[in-house]
Amino acid sequence: MIKVSNLSFSYGKGTPLLSGINLEFDQRSTAIIGQNGAGKTTFVKLLKGLLKADEGEVTIQDRDIKTETAAELAKTIGLVFQNPNDQIFKRSVLDEVMFGPLNIKLDKARAREYAFQALKMVELDDKLESNPHDLSLSEKKLLCIASIVAMDPDIIILDEPTIAQDHSGKEKIRQIIKTLKDRNKLVMTIIHDMDFVAENFERTIVFNEGRVLLDGDTRQVFSQKEMLEKANVEPPGITQLAEKLGFKDTILTVEEFINMK
Protein backbone atom coordinates (compact mmCIF):
# COMPACT_ATOMS: atom_id res chain seq x y z
CA MET A 1 0.00 0.00 0.00
CA ILE A 2 2.88 2.32 0.76
CA LYS A 3 6.33 2.22 -0.73
CA VAL A 4 9.12 4.36 0.70
CA SER A 5 12.39 4.59 -1.22
CA ASN A 6 15.62 6.11 -0.03
CA LEU A 7 13.83 8.73 2.07
CA SER A 8 15.87 11.42 3.82
CA PHE A 9 14.79 14.45 5.78
CA SER A 10 16.32 17.18 7.90
CA TYR A 11 14.80 20.12 9.76
CA GLY A 12 16.62 23.20 8.48
CA LYS A 13 20.23 22.67 7.56
CA GLY A 14 21.16 20.35 10.41
CA THR A 15 22.21 16.74 10.17
CA PRO A 16 19.52 14.58 8.61
CA LEU A 17 16.94 13.35 11.10
CA LEU A 18 16.02 10.49 8.76
CA SER A 19 18.28 9.01 6.15
CA GLY A 20 18.06 6.21 3.60
CA ILE A 21 14.70 4.81 4.69
CA ASN A 22 13.40 1.99 2.49
CA LEU A 23 10.15 0.37 3.57
CA GLU A 24 7.10 -1.24 2.08
CA PHE A 25 3.82 -1.48 3.91
CA ASP A 26 1.16 -4.08 3.31
CA GLN A 27 -2.06 -4.75 5.22
CA ARG A 28 -0.33 -6.03 8.34
CA SER A 29 -0.93 -3.88 11.41
CA THR A 30 2.39 -2.23 12.13
CA ALA A 31 3.98 -0.71 15.22
CA ILE A 32 6.82 1.76 14.89
CA ILE A 33 8.94 1.85 18.02
CA GLY A 34 12.19 3.51 19.11
CA GLN A 35 13.49 6.18 21.44
CA ASN A 36 12.20 9.74 21.61
CA GLY A 37 13.96 11.63 18.83
CA ALA A 38 14.54 8.52 16.67
CA GLY A 39 12.46 10.11 13.88
CA LYS A 40 9.19 8.18 14.23
CA THR A 41 6.79 11.12 14.20
CA THR A 42 8.76 12.87 11.46
CA PHE A 43 8.52 9.70 9.37
CA VAL A 44 4.74 9.47 9.58
CA LYS A 45 4.39 13.20 8.87
CA LEU A 46 6.34 12.57 5.66
CA LEU A 47 3.99 9.72 4.73
CA LYS A 48 1.04 12.00 5.28
CA GLY A 49 2.58 14.76 3.20
CA LEU A 50 2.76 17.22 6.10
CA LEU A 51 6.52 17.47 5.60
CA LYS A 52 8.44 17.35 2.32
CA ALA A 53 11.35 14.93 1.98
CA ASP A 54 14.81 16.23 1.03
CA GLU A 55 15.44 13.09 -0.97
CA GLY A 56 13.70 9.90 -1.95
CA GLU A 57 10.08 9.19 -2.65
CA VAL A 58 6.89 7.88 -1.12
CA THR A 59 4.16 6.24 -3.17
CA ILE A 60 0.78 5.42 -1.71
CA GLN A 61 -1.33 3.01 -3.71
CA ASP A 62 1.07 3.61 -6.61
CA ARG A 63 0.64 7.39 -6.55
CA ASP A 64 3.65 9.58 -5.85
CA ILE A 65 2.66 11.77 -2.92
CA LYS A 66 4.68 14.69 -4.28
CA THR A 67 2.16 15.11 -7.05
CA GLU A 68 -0.82 15.06 -4.68
CA THR A 69 -2.16 17.82 -2.48
CA ALA A 70 -2.57 17.26 1.25
CA ALA A 71 -6.34 17.43 0.67
CA GLU A 72 -6.26 14.60 -1.85
CA LEU A 73 -4.04 12.52 0.37
CA ALA A 74 -6.45 12.96 3.26
CA LYS A 75 -8.92 10.63 1.54
CA THR A 76 -6.36 7.83 1.63
CA ILE A 77 -4.21 8.37 4.69
CA GLY A 78 -5.16 9.76 8.10
CA LEU A 79 -2.89 10.67 11.00
CA VAL A 80 -4.11 10.97 14.57
CA PHE A 81 -1.81 13.43 16.33
CA GLN A 82 -0.03 12.63 19.56
CA ASN A 83 -1.29 15.76 21.30
CA PRO A 84 -5.07 16.13 20.86
CA ASN A 85 -4.82 19.87 21.48
CA ASP A 86 -2.97 20.17 18.15
CA GLN A 87 -5.90 18.61 16.38
CA ILE A 88 -9.05 19.82 18.11
CA PHE A 89 -10.55 23.20 17.24
CA LYS A 90 -14.34 22.97 16.94
CA ARG A 91 -16.97 23.87 19.53
CA SER A 92 -18.80 20.56 19.65
CA VAL A 93 -17.77 16.92 19.47
CA LEU A 94 -20.00 16.26 16.46
CA ASP A 95 -18.71 19.31 14.52
CA GLU A 96 -15.16 18.28 15.28
CA VAL A 97 -15.66 14.84 13.77
CA MET A 98 -17.73 16.14 10.83
CA PHE A 99 -15.02 18.59 9.85
CA GLY A 100 -12.83 16.02 8.08
CA PRO A 101 -15.59 14.36 6.04
CA LEU A 102 -16.97 17.77 4.98
CA ASN A 103 -13.48 18.85 3.97
CA ILE A 104 -13.06 15.90 1.65
CA LYS A 105 -16.32 16.99 0.07
CA LEU A 106 -18.79 14.51 1.46
CA ASP A 107 -22.29 15.93 1.62
CA LYS A 108 -23.62 16.98 4.98
CA ALA A 109 -25.88 13.98 5.52
CA ARG A 110 -23.10 11.50 4.84
CA ALA A 111 -20.57 13.48 6.84
CA ARG A 112 -22.96 13.38 9.76
CA GLU A 113 -23.55 9.67 9.36
CA TYR A 114 -19.83 8.84 9.13
CA ALA A 115 -19.09 11.08 12.10
CA PHE A 116 -21.80 9.43 14.14
CA GLN A 117 -20.57 5.93 13.28
CA ALA A 118 -17.01 6.88 14.22
CA LEU A 119 -18.14 8.39 17.51
CA LYS A 120 -20.11 5.27 18.24
CA MET A 121 -17.00 3.19 17.66
CA VAL A 122 -15.00 5.18 20.23
CA GLU A 123 -18.05 5.32 22.55
CA LEU A 124 -18.39 9.09 22.57
CA ASP A 125 -21.79 9.06 20.85
CA ASP A 126 -23.41 10.22 24.08
CA LYS A 127 -21.38 13.47 24.01
CA LEU A 128 -22.21 14.85 20.57
CA GLU A 129 -22.96 18.35 21.86
CA SER A 130 -20.14 18.56 24.43
CA ASN A 131 -17.32 21.04 23.92
CA PRO A 132 -14.22 18.99 23.02
CA HIS A 133 -12.16 21.09 25.41
CA ASP A 134 -14.31 19.94 28.33
CA LEU A 135 -13.42 16.30 27.67
CA SER A 136 -10.71 14.53 29.65
CA LEU A 137 -7.38 13.87 27.97
CA SER A 138 -8.28 10.22 27.38
CA GLU A 139 -11.60 11.18 25.79
CA LYS A 140 -9.88 13.80 23.63
CA LYS A 141 -7.54 11.11 22.33
CA LEU A 142 -10.55 8.96 21.40
CA LEU A 143 -12.25 11.96 19.78
CA CYS A 144 -9.19 12.52 17.60
CA ILE A 145 -9.27 8.89 16.49
CA ALA A 146 -12.95 9.28 15.56
CA SER A 147 -12.19 12.43 13.53
CA ILE A 148 -9.82 10.46 11.34
CA VAL A 149 -11.89 7.27 11.15
CA ALA A 150 -14.88 9.35 9.97
CA MET A 151 -13.00 10.21 6.77
CA ASP A 152 -12.72 6.47 6.09
CA PRO A 153 -9.13 6.50 4.80
CA ASP A 154 -7.45 3.22 3.83
CA ILE A 155 -4.46 3.96 6.02
CA ILE A 156 -4.77 5.13 9.62
CA ILE A 157 -1.76 6.14 11.67
CA LEU A 158 -2.11 6.54 15.44
CA ASP A 159 0.61 8.51 17.21
CA GLU A 160 0.76 7.25 20.81
CA PRO A 161 -2.88 6.17 21.13
CA THR A 162 -2.60 4.67 24.62
CA ILE A 163 -1.34 7.79 26.42
CA ALA A 164 -3.64 8.68 29.34
CA GLN A 165 -5.76 5.55 28.83
CA ASP A 166 -6.61 3.32 31.75
CA HIS A 167 -7.24 -0.41 31.50
CA SER A 168 -10.66 -0.07 29.89
CA GLY A 169 -9.47 2.74 27.59
CA LYS A 170 -6.72 0.49 26.30
CA GLU A 171 -9.26 -2.28 25.75
CA LYS A 172 -11.33 0.19 23.75
CA ILE A 173 -8.36 1.08 21.58
CA ARG A 174 -7.52 -2.59 21.12
CA GLN A 175 -11.06 -3.13 19.87
CA ILE A 176 -10.90 -0.10 17.55
CA ILE A 177 -7.69 -1.37 15.98
CA LYS A 178 -9.23 -4.78 15.49
CA THR A 179 -12.36 -3.34 13.87
CA LEU A 180 -10.26 -1.23 11.50
CA LYS A 181 -8.18 -4.27 10.59
CA ASP A 182 -11.33 -6.26 9.89
CA ARG A 183 -12.33 -3.46 7.50
CA ASN A 184 -9.03 -4.04 5.66
CA LYS A 185 -7.44 -0.81 6.81
CA LEU A 186 -3.71 -0.56 7.27
CA VAL A 187 -3.34 0.45 10.92
CA MET A 188 0.01 1.85 11.90
CA THR A 189 1.00 3.19 15.28
CA ILE A 190 3.87 4.94 16.97
CA ILE A 191 3.97 3.67 20.51
CA HIS A 192 6.11 3.22 23.61
CA ASP A 193 3.90 0.63 25.29
CA MET A 194 5.66 -2.61 24.34
CA ASP A 195 3.09 -4.89 25.98
CA PHE A 196 0.44 -3.31 23.79
CA VAL A 197 2.62 -3.81 20.71
CA ALA A 198 3.18 -7.48 21.53
CA GLU A 199 -0.51 -8.12 22.02
CA ASN A 200 -1.88 -6.19 19.06
CA PHE A 201 0.50 -5.68 16.14
CA GLU A 202 1.64 -8.18 13.55
CA ARG A 203 4.67 -6.26 12.35
CA THR A 204 7.15 -4.12 14.29
CA ILE A 205 9.68 -1.64 12.93
CA VAL A 206 12.41 -0.28 15.19
CA PHE A 207 13.76 3.18 14.40
CA ASN A 208 17.13 4.22 15.76
CA GLU A 209 18.84 7.52 15.07
CA GLY A 210 16.90 8.16 11.90
CA ARG A 211 17.32 4.70 10.41
CA VAL A 212 15.42 1.44 10.38
CA LEU A 213 17.28 -0.89 12.72
CA LEU A 214 14.88 -3.84 12.75
CA ASP A 215 11.81 -4.77 10.77
CA GLY A 216 9.80 -7.96 10.84
CA ASP A 217 7.14 -9.99 12.56
CA THR A 218 6.65 -8.69 16.07
CA ARG A 219 7.79 -11.95 17.64
CA GLN A 220 10.93 -12.07 15.57
CA VAL A 221 11.76 -8.41 16.39
CA PHE A 222 11.29 -8.91 20.13
CA SER A 223 13.57 -11.95 20.03
CA GLN A 224 16.56 -9.81 19.02
CA LYS A 225 17.61 -8.72 22.45
CA GLU A 226 20.96 -7.21 21.56
CA MET A 227 19.70 -5.18 18.62
CA LEU A 228 16.85 -3.86 20.78
CA GLU A 229 19.31 -2.84 23.44
CA LYS A 230 21.21 -0.88 20.82
CA ALA A 231 18.03 1.04 20.02
CA ASN A 232 17.40 1.47 23.75
CA VAL A 233 14.16 -0.46 23.48
CA GLU A 234 13.06 -2.98 26.10
CA PRO A 235 11.10 -6.07 25.10
CA PRO A 236 7.65 -6.45 26.75
CA GLY A 237 7.71 -7.41 30.45
CA ILE A 238 6.37 -10.90 29.85
CA THR A 239 8.97 -11.49 27.13
CA GLN A 240 11.73 -10.49 29.56
CA LEU A 241 10.38 -12.74 32.29
CA ALA A 242 10.19 -15.75 29.98
CA GLU A 243 13.69 -15.06 28.72
CA LYS A 244 15.08 -14.86 32.26
CA LEU A 245 13.44 -18.16 33.13
CA GLY A 246 15.09 -19.80 30.15
CA PHE A 247 12.11 -20.29 27.82
CA LYS A 248 13.42 -21.19 24.38
CA ASP A 249 10.70 -19.38 22.42
CA THR A 250 9.97 -15.68 22.45
CA ILE A 251 6.80 -15.16 24.48
CA LEU A 252 4.54 -12.19 23.69
CA THR A 253 1.52 -12.54 25.97
CA VAL A 254 0.52 -13.83 29.40
CA GLU A 255 -1.64 -16.52 27.71
CA GLU A 256 1.32 -17.80 25.72
CA PHE A 257 3.41 -17.89 28.88
CA ILE A 258 0.86 -19.97 30.73
CA ASN A 259 0.39 -22.37 27.82
CA MET A 260 4.12 -22.81 27.36
CA LYS A 261 5.16 -23.64 30.86
Binding site: G34, G37, I163, D166, H192, E234, G237, V254, F257, K261
Partner: protein, 281 residues
Amino acid sequence: MKKIIVEGLKYKYPLAEALALNDVTFHVEQGEFIGIIGKNSAGKSTLCQALVGLVPHFYKGAYGGKVIVDGLEVKNRSIADISLKVGMVFQNPFSQVTGSKMTVYEEIAFGLENIGIPRSEIIDRIDSVLNLLKIEQVKNHNPFDLSGGQMQRMAIASIIAMKPEILVLDEPTSQLDPAGSEEVFQAIQSLSKQGITVILAEHKMEKVAQYCDRVLLLNDGKIVDFATPEKIFSREDLEEQGISAPVYTRVCKALGVKKTGTDEYPVTLEDAEKALRGRVV
Protein backbone atom coordinates in the same frame (compact mmCIF):
# COMPACT_ATOMS: atom_id res chain seq x y z
CA MET B 1 6.41 13.10 60.88
CA LYS B 2 3.12 13.33 59.02
CA LYS B 3 3.72 15.40 55.90
CA ILE B 4 0.24 15.13 54.42
CA ILE B 5 -2.99 14.74 56.35
CA VAL B 6 -6.25 14.37 54.47
CA GLU B 7 -9.36 14.00 56.64
CA GLY B 8 -12.87 13.41 55.31
CA LEU B 9 -12.19 15.31 52.09
CA LYS B 10 -15.27 15.78 49.95
CA TYR B 11 -15.27 17.79 46.77
CA LYS B 12 -17.66 18.54 43.93
CA TYR B 13 -16.72 20.53 40.81
CA PRO B 14 -19.03 23.45 40.00
CA LEU B 15 -21.91 22.27 37.77
CA ALA B 16 -21.08 18.63 38.48
CA GLU B 17 -23.70 16.42 40.05
CA ALA B 18 -21.54 13.74 41.62
CA LEU B 19 -18.76 14.14 44.17
CA ALA B 20 -15.30 13.89 42.57
CA LEU B 21 -13.85 12.99 45.96
CA ASN B 22 -16.01 11.38 48.58
CA ASP B 23 -14.85 11.17 52.18
CA VAL B 24 -11.16 10.65 51.46
CA THR B 25 -8.96 10.11 54.51
CA PHE B 26 -5.27 9.17 54.55
CA HIS B 27 -1.92 10.20 56.02
CA VAL B 28 1.51 10.27 54.43
CA GLU B 29 4.84 10.29 56.28
CA GLN B 30 7.74 12.45 55.24
CA GLY B 31 9.87 10.84 52.50
CA GLU B 32 7.27 8.28 51.47
CA PHE B 33 6.78 7.55 47.77
CA ILE B 34 3.04 7.10 47.25
CA GLY B 35 1.34 5.90 44.07
CA ILE B 36 -2.25 6.84 43.28
CA ILE B 37 -4.01 4.43 40.94
CA GLY B 38 -7.56 4.03 39.69
CA LYS B 39 -9.45 4.06 36.43
CA ASN B 40 -10.03 7.31 34.58
CA SER B 41 -12.31 9.71 36.48
CA ALA B 42 -11.73 7.80 39.74
CA GLY B 43 -10.46 11.07 41.27
CA LYS B 44 -6.68 10.79 40.87
CA SER B 45 -6.08 14.17 39.24
CA THR B 46 -8.60 15.88 41.49
CA LEU B 47 -6.82 14.51 44.55
CA CYS B 48 -3.48 15.76 43.21
CA GLN B 49 -5.01 19.19 42.68
CA ALA B 50 -6.45 19.18 46.19
CA LEU B 51 -2.93 18.73 47.58
CA VAL B 52 -1.65 21.86 45.81
CA GLY B 53 -4.75 23.94 46.47
CA LEU B 54 -6.01 24.24 42.86
CA VAL B 55 -8.96 22.42 44.40
CA PRO B 56 -10.77 24.45 45.72
CA HIS B 57 -9.05 27.82 45.14
CA PHE B 58 -8.86 27.70 41.33
CA TYR B 59 -11.72 25.36 40.44
CA LYS B 60 -14.09 26.60 43.20
CA GLY B 61 -16.95 24.12 43.80
CA ALA B 62 -18.17 22.54 47.03
CA TYR B 63 -15.50 21.52 49.51
CA GLY B 64 -15.61 19.76 52.85
CA GLY B 65 -13.08 18.15 55.16
CA LYS B 66 -9.45 18.98 55.65
CA VAL B 67 -6.19 18.82 53.72
CA ILE B 68 -3.03 19.71 55.64
CA VAL B 69 0.27 19.77 53.76
CA ASP B 70 3.39 20.30 55.83
CA GLY B 71 1.33 22.00 58.52
CA LEU B 72 -0.61 24.31 56.20
CA GLU B 73 -4.34 23.86 55.92
CA VAL B 74 -4.96 24.15 52.17
CA LYS B 75 -8.42 25.66 52.48
CA ASN B 76 -7.17 28.63 54.48
CA ARG B 77 -4.02 29.38 52.51
CA SER B 78 -3.39 30.91 49.10
CA ILE B 79 -2.07 28.85 46.20
CA ALA B 80 1.06 31.04 46.37
CA ASP B 81 1.72 30.01 50.00
CA ILE B 82 1.11 26.37 49.25
CA SER B 83 3.34 26.45 46.16
CA LEU B 84 6.34 27.04 48.43
CA LYS B 85 5.75 23.63 50.01
CA VAL B 86 4.15 21.55 47.29
CA GLY B 87 5.00 21.40 43.59
CA MET B 88 2.82 19.75 41.00
CA VAL B 89 3.70 18.40 37.56
CA PHE B 90 0.58 18.42 35.32
CA GLN B 91 -0.70 15.46 33.36
CA ASN B 92 -0.42 17.31 30.06
CA PRO B 93 2.87 19.26 29.96
CA PHE B 94 1.27 21.49 27.35
CA SER B 95 -1.13 22.88 29.97
CA GLN B 96 1.69 23.58 32.39
CA VAL B 97 3.91 25.67 30.09
CA THR B 98 3.47 29.39 30.77
CA GLY B 99 3.38 30.37 27.10
CA SER B 100 5.10 33.63 28.00
CA LYS B 101 8.73 32.48 27.79
CA MET B 102 10.84 32.09 24.69
CA THR B 103 13.32 29.50 25.91
CA VAL B 104 13.36 26.38 28.05
CA TYR B 105 15.85 28.12 30.34
CA GLU B 106 13.55 31.09 30.99
CA GLU B 107 10.56 28.79 31.35
CA ILE B 108 12.26 26.97 34.21
CA ALA B 109 13.29 30.32 35.72
CA PHE B 110 9.66 31.50 35.79
CA GLY B 111 8.64 29.85 39.06
CA LEU B 112 11.92 30.73 40.74
CA GLU B 113 11.65 34.41 39.79
CA ASN B 114 8.12 34.43 41.09
CA ILE B 115 9.16 33.31 44.54
CA GLY B 116 12.06 35.76 44.63
CA ILE B 117 15.07 33.43 44.51
CA PRO B 118 18.34 35.40 44.03
CA ARG B 119 19.68 35.43 40.47
CA SER B 120 22.83 33.44 41.15
CA GLU B 121 20.87 30.69 42.88
CA ILE B 122 18.34 30.61 40.06
CA ILE B 123 21.19 29.93 37.65
CA ASP B 124 22.59 27.15 39.86
CA ARG B 125 19.22 25.50 40.27
CA ILE B 126 18.38 25.64 36.56
CA ASP B 127 21.73 24.14 35.60
CA SER B 128 21.23 21.35 38.07
CA VAL B 129 17.70 20.41 36.91
CA LEU B 130 18.66 20.67 33.23
CA ASN B 131 21.32 18.11 34.05
CA LEU B 132 19.04 15.92 36.20
CA LEU B 133 16.38 15.71 33.48
CA LYS B 134 18.95 15.57 30.64
CA ILE B 135 17.64 18.53 28.66
CA GLU B 136 20.74 20.78 28.59
CA GLN B 137 20.91 20.42 24.82
CA VAL B 138 17.53 22.13 24.35
CA LYS B 139 17.90 24.86 26.97
CA ASN B 140 17.79 27.62 24.35
CA HIS B 141 14.91 26.14 22.36
CA ASN B 142 11.41 27.54 22.38
CA PRO B 143 9.27 25.37 24.71
CA PHE B 144 6.70 24.84 21.96
CA ASP B 145 9.32 23.45 19.57
CA LEU B 146 10.10 20.56 21.93
CA SER B 147 8.97 17.00 21.39
CA GLY B 148 6.35 15.62 23.79
CA GLY B 149 9.04 13.82 25.76
CA GLN B 150 11.29 16.86 26.03
CA MET B 151 8.38 19.06 27.05
CA GLN B 152 7.48 16.62 29.78
CA ARG B 153 11.06 16.63 31.07
CA MET B 154 10.99 20.43 31.08
CA ALA B 155 7.70 20.44 32.99
CA ILE B 156 9.21 18.18 35.66
CA ALA B 157 12.44 20.21 35.76
CA SER B 158 10.60 23.48 36.33
CA ILE B 159 8.85 22.04 39.39
CA ILE B 160 11.88 20.26 40.86
CA ALA B 161 13.83 23.54 40.55
CA MET B 162 11.40 25.07 43.08
CA LYS B 163 12.65 22.50 45.62
CA PRO B 164 9.25 21.65 47.04
CA GLU B 165 9.17 19.42 50.10
CA ILE B 166 6.23 17.59 48.59
CA LEU B 167 6.24 16.65 44.93
CA VAL B 168 2.95 15.78 43.24
CA LEU B 169 3.17 14.22 39.78
CA ASP B 170 0.21 13.43 37.53
CA GLU B 171 1.32 10.79 34.99
CA PRO B 172 4.70 12.45 34.55
CA THR B 173 6.14 10.05 31.97
CA SER B 174 3.19 9.49 29.63
CA GLN B 175 5.04 11.00 26.64
CA LEU B 176 8.41 9.39 27.34
CA ASP B 177 9.93 6.29 25.83
CA PRO B 178 10.62 3.37 28.21
CA ALA B 179 14.28 4.31 28.74
CA GLY B 180 13.36 7.96 29.35
CA SER B 181 10.58 7.06 31.71
CA GLU B 182 12.93 4.79 33.68
CA GLU B 183 15.40 7.69 33.96
CA VAL B 184 12.72 10.03 35.23
CA PHE B 185 11.52 7.47 37.78
CA GLN B 186 15.06 7.06 39.05
CA ALA B 187 15.44 10.83 39.34
CA ILE B 188 12.20 10.99 41.34
CA GLN B 189 13.30 8.08 43.50
CA SER B 190 16.56 9.82 44.33
CA LEU B 191 14.61 12.92 45.43
CA SER B 192 12.44 10.67 47.54
CA LYS B 193 15.53 9.18 49.17
CA GLN B 194 16.68 12.71 50.01
CA GLY B 195 13.52 13.07 52.10
CA ILE B 196 11.13 14.64 49.58
CA THR B 197 7.62 13.27 49.87
CA VAL B 198 6.34 12.06 46.49
CA ILE B 199 2.74 11.58 45.37
CA LEU B 200 2.38 10.06 41.93
CA ALA B 201 -0.79 9.38 39.93
CA GLU B 202 0.07 6.74 37.36
CA HIS B 203 -1.32 4.17 34.91
CA LYS B 204 1.97 2.33 34.41
CA MET B 205 1.44 -0.34 37.04
CA GLU B 206 4.87 -1.92 36.56
CA LYS B 207 6.44 1.38 37.60
CA VAL B 208 4.10 1.83 40.57
CA ALA B 209 4.99 -1.69 41.72
CA GLN B 210 8.69 -1.07 41.38
CA TYR B 211 9.02 2.38 42.93
CA CYS B 212 6.18 3.12 45.33
CA ASP B 213 6.27 2.39 49.07
CA ARG B 214 2.51 2.41 49.32
CA VAL B 215 -0.33 2.58 46.81
CA LEU B 216 -3.64 4.41 47.15
CA LEU B 217 -6.38 2.75 45.11
CA LEU B 218 -9.27 5.07 44.21
CA ASN B 219 -12.63 4.29 42.63
CA ASP B 220 -15.54 6.71 42.18
CA GLY B 221 -13.86 9.29 44.37
CA LYS B 222 -13.46 6.91 47.30
CA ILE B 223 -10.43 5.17 48.73
CA VAL B 224 -10.72 1.44 48.13
CA ASP B 225 -7.41 0.53 49.73
CA PHE B 226 -4.11 2.07 50.82
CA ALA B 227 -1.34 -0.50 51.24
CA THR B 228 1.89 -1.95 49.84
CA PRO B 229 2.03 -2.65 46.08
CA GLU B 230 2.05 -6.41 46.82
CA LYS B 231 -1.13 -6.21 48.85
CA ILE B 232 -2.92 -3.91 46.39
CA PHE B 233 -2.03 -5.88 43.28
CA SER B 234 -2.90 -9.19 44.95
CA ARG B 235 -6.51 -8.06 45.45
CA GLU B 236 -8.99 -10.35 43.77
CA ASP B 237 -11.33 -7.52 42.73
CA LEU B 238 -8.72 -5.51 40.81
CA GLU B 239 -10.44 -5.89 37.45
CA GLU B 240 -13.69 -4.64 38.96
CA GLN B 241 -11.79 -1.57 40.12
CA GLY B 242 -10.75 -0.99 36.50
CA ILE B 243 -7.12 -1.88 37.15
CA SER B 244 -4.91 -4.37 35.42
CA ALA B 245 -2.10 -5.58 37.70
CA PRO B 246 1.52 -5.56 36.48
CA VAL B 247 2.08 -8.27 33.88
CA TYR B 248 4.34 -10.12 36.37
CA THR B 249 1.53 -10.29 38.91
CA ARG B 250 -1.01 -11.38 36.32
CA VAL B 251 1.09 -14.31 35.19
CA CYS B 252 1.83 -15.42 38.78
CA LYS B 253 -1.84 -15.12 39.71
CA ALA B 254 -2.81 -17.27 36.72
CA LEU B 255 -0.29 -19.89 37.81
CA GLY B 256 -1.17 -19.54 41.51
CA VAL B 257 2.44 -18.77 42.49
CA LYS B 258 2.82 -16.46 45.51
CA LYS B 259 5.90 -14.82 46.99
CA THR B 260 7.58 -17.37 49.21
CA GLY B 261 6.38 -17.20 52.78
CA THR B 262 3.64 -14.64 52.05
CA ASP B 263 0.06 -14.56 50.92
CA GLU B 264 0.86 -12.06 48.19
CA TYR B 265 1.82 -12.31 44.55
CA PRO B 266 5.08 -10.92 43.14
CA VAL B 267 4.76 -7.47 41.54
CA THR B 268 8.16 -6.90 39.93
CA LEU B 269 10.22 -8.70 37.30
CA GLU B 270 12.83 -9.73 39.89
CA ASP B 271 10.30 -11.10 42.36
CA ALA B 272 8.36 -12.93 39.66
CA GLU B 273 11.55 -14.50 38.39
CA LYS B 274 12.47 -15.65 41.92
CA ALA B 275 9.03 -17.06 42.59
CA LEU B 276 8.71 -18.84 39.25
CA ARG B 277 12.24 -20.22 39.05
CA GLY B 278 12.06 -23.96 39.44
CA ARG B 279 8.25 -23.86 39.30
CA VAL B 280 7.96 -23.55 35.54
CA VAL B 281 10.05 -24.95 32.66
